[in-house]
Amino acid sequence: MIVFLIKRLSNAALVMLAVALMAFMIFRFAGDPVELMVNEQTTQEQRQELRERLGIDQPVLMQFARFVGNAVQGDFGISYRNQESVMSLIAERFPATFELVILATILSLVVGVPLGVITAIYRGRWFSEAVQFASIIGVSLPSFVIGILLILGFSVSLGWLPAFGRGEVVQFGWWSTGLLTHSGRMALILPTVALSLYQITLVMRLVRAEMLETLRSDFVKFARARGVPAWRIHYRHALRNCLMPVVTMTAMNIGALIAFALVTETVFQWPGMGLLFIQAITFVDIPVMAAYLVIVSFIFVTLNTLVDITYALIDPRLRDATT
């Protein structure tokens, strides 16, 4: 297990280094940032001073080493747009995205897993077919369309839920949460639903496919022959065997959701990292873009690594193979 952990972690570190290199390249190819930040009145000395502050007067390798060294400490430089620390900009936006993504993930599991199990166990019944059909619609609608439809329905027509923003948030140090106020919770509902609909169908389809496959397996037949009651076979023996792919997909998809959240955040004007990134693109704000890339990759890689470790914990066969 220890060897396995070390192997997995060094893999992860390597991947992050590659990502850092790519983020760093963006700087190199995006032209002279100083020209973007200054105006005609800036003197040569001021420009030089800014160059030194940004560290772009040094050799490339040194610059990269500094970039990595700083990134490890959470320092991604300063924003070209408003000269604020990039990290504090992101830290300010991160909780909004995080809250949205985690809630969407929980919702997709809470709804998707039971739907998958039920449509597998009762395949061929009318309600399974109906859910299946609805899920096809769910996958084929683009998420911004879903967002707009939700806004039209629940905000514009019914007026039940807010159409944009986070509502009131409560601050804990640098962390902010909308979960503790009424308006915060109301504001979370629509974006969460919009973001999770696609995930729900994915989870449901995966669980259904895995369940159908598992229910055909010999050990399920043998469990029936041992007299294990149907519900116990479904929820203990079969479902547990389906959990691994679900865990994998869920964890991987948290990364994807953070990326997807970009669209949802734009539709709902949700003040998260995605919206920050969109704004950064408009202003060619390279450090913010680079930081977003590195941080989202970091989340991806971390989840990936956690998935592998969880795998080893759930499946005794892997546990042994890796010691």
Binding site: D218, F219, A225, R226, G227, N241, R317, D320
Partner: protein, 324 residues
């Protein structure tokens, strides 16, 4: 004579489908006495597994019992609901499947699967069930059962896993075990051990075993009686010695001739010309008539029932008034 543990009378199993109904079993009758091993043989597709599944109430829908009766320990069970059959499976009928590698749930320790089965069927506390599980592992010849109980299926070899499967079959103290090719997936060297184990358990515990196999050597060694199936029908049934020495049905004779020496498998019956008919194209009269060297007009006209001959029964006109 005491009541048989299992009695199957004129069992018919059908699969309704788009292209009409397939009759997979047609008029299968057999019985098992207490402590007896009944070997069931026949070509692939003859309906051996189907018979076992029908008895356990494990037919895959739309397959169902369309006729006949199944009696277990003096109680009729072919019309019970699935809920009621759940109480019988494991408790009154144990099962052993062909492939020990896939019969066990890979995510649960063998102990947890044993304890689950025990507690489902016997009124025991967790600790008592665990003690019984260890005891069962010892009975089926697994060394170091106290440590092994917490191991997972993948930590056992194929032969050891089949012993675990046998322990699971015994867990609910059933009086009948249906073993469907329990040694086919195992190394030849281990097959004999497993069969010997079954024979011993059968003698010690008084359990009856319906042993489906392709291996006539296994039957000769372990079984008390033998049942020969062909195209979903029972063609001959009788004491092992008699049937092996003097088969009365032409199909059984073909089976014997197809193996130069006992102990070989009967997967390929090259000695009998032709092949078993598809279930939707079974000829009128005797199902074996296109391949039979003794066929006569009566064989094409009327279907022979399973009738007594000597110490057993067969379904052939030859021994029952002639084929003319």
């Amino acid at each position: 004579m005491p009541d048989p543990v299992l009695e199957v009378r004129d069992l018919r199993v059908q699969f309704p489908g788009r292209h009409g109904t397939v009759t997979a079993l047609d008029g299968v009758s057999l019985h098992l006495n207490a402590g007896e091993i009944l070997g069931v043989v026949g070509e692939s597709g003859a309906g051996k597994s189907m018979t076992g599944l029908a008895v356990q109430g494990l037919l895959e829908p739309p397959g169902h019992i369309a006729g006949g009766e199944v009696w277990l320990n003096g109680r009729r069970i072919d019309q019970l609901s699935n809920r009621q059959m759940e109480k019988i499976r494991g408790r009154e009928i144990g099962a052993i499947f062909q492939d020990p590698l896939t019969s066990l749930n890979p995510l649960f320790s063998v102990g947890s699967q044993l304890e689950e089965t025990i507690r489902l069927h016997l009124d025991m506390t967790r600790a008592e069930a665990r003690a019984r599980a260890i005891d069962l592992l010892r009975q089926v010849g697994i060394p170091g059962p106290k440590e092994r109980i917490d191991h997972y299926p993948h930590q056992f070899s194929g032969g050891m896993r089949q012993r675990v499967v046998i322990a699971l079959a015994l867990a609910g103290e059933p009086k009948l075990i249906i073993a469907d090719e329990p040694t086919t997936a195992l190394d030849v060297s281990i097959q004999a051990q497993i069969i010997a184990l079954l024979r011993r358990l059968c003698d010690d515990l008084g359990t009856s075993v319906m042993l489906v196999t392709h291996d006539l050597g296994v039957i000769a060694e372990a079984a008390d009686r033998i049942a020969v199936m062909y195209a979903g029908r029972m063609v001959e049934i009788g004491p092992v010695r008699e049937v092996l020495r003097q088969p009365t049905h032409p199909y059984t004779r073909g089976l014997m001739d197809s193996i130069p020496a006992l102990g070989r498998r009967v997967a390929h019956l090259t000695q009998i010309d032709g092949s078993m008919p598809r279930l939707d194209a079974i000829p009128d009269g005797c199902a074996f008539n296109p391949r039979c060297a003794h066929v006569g007009p009566r064989c094409r006209r009327a279907r022979p029932a399973l009738m007594p001959t000597g110490a057993g029964q067969n379904a052939c006109w030859l021994t029952h008034g002639g084929v003319a």
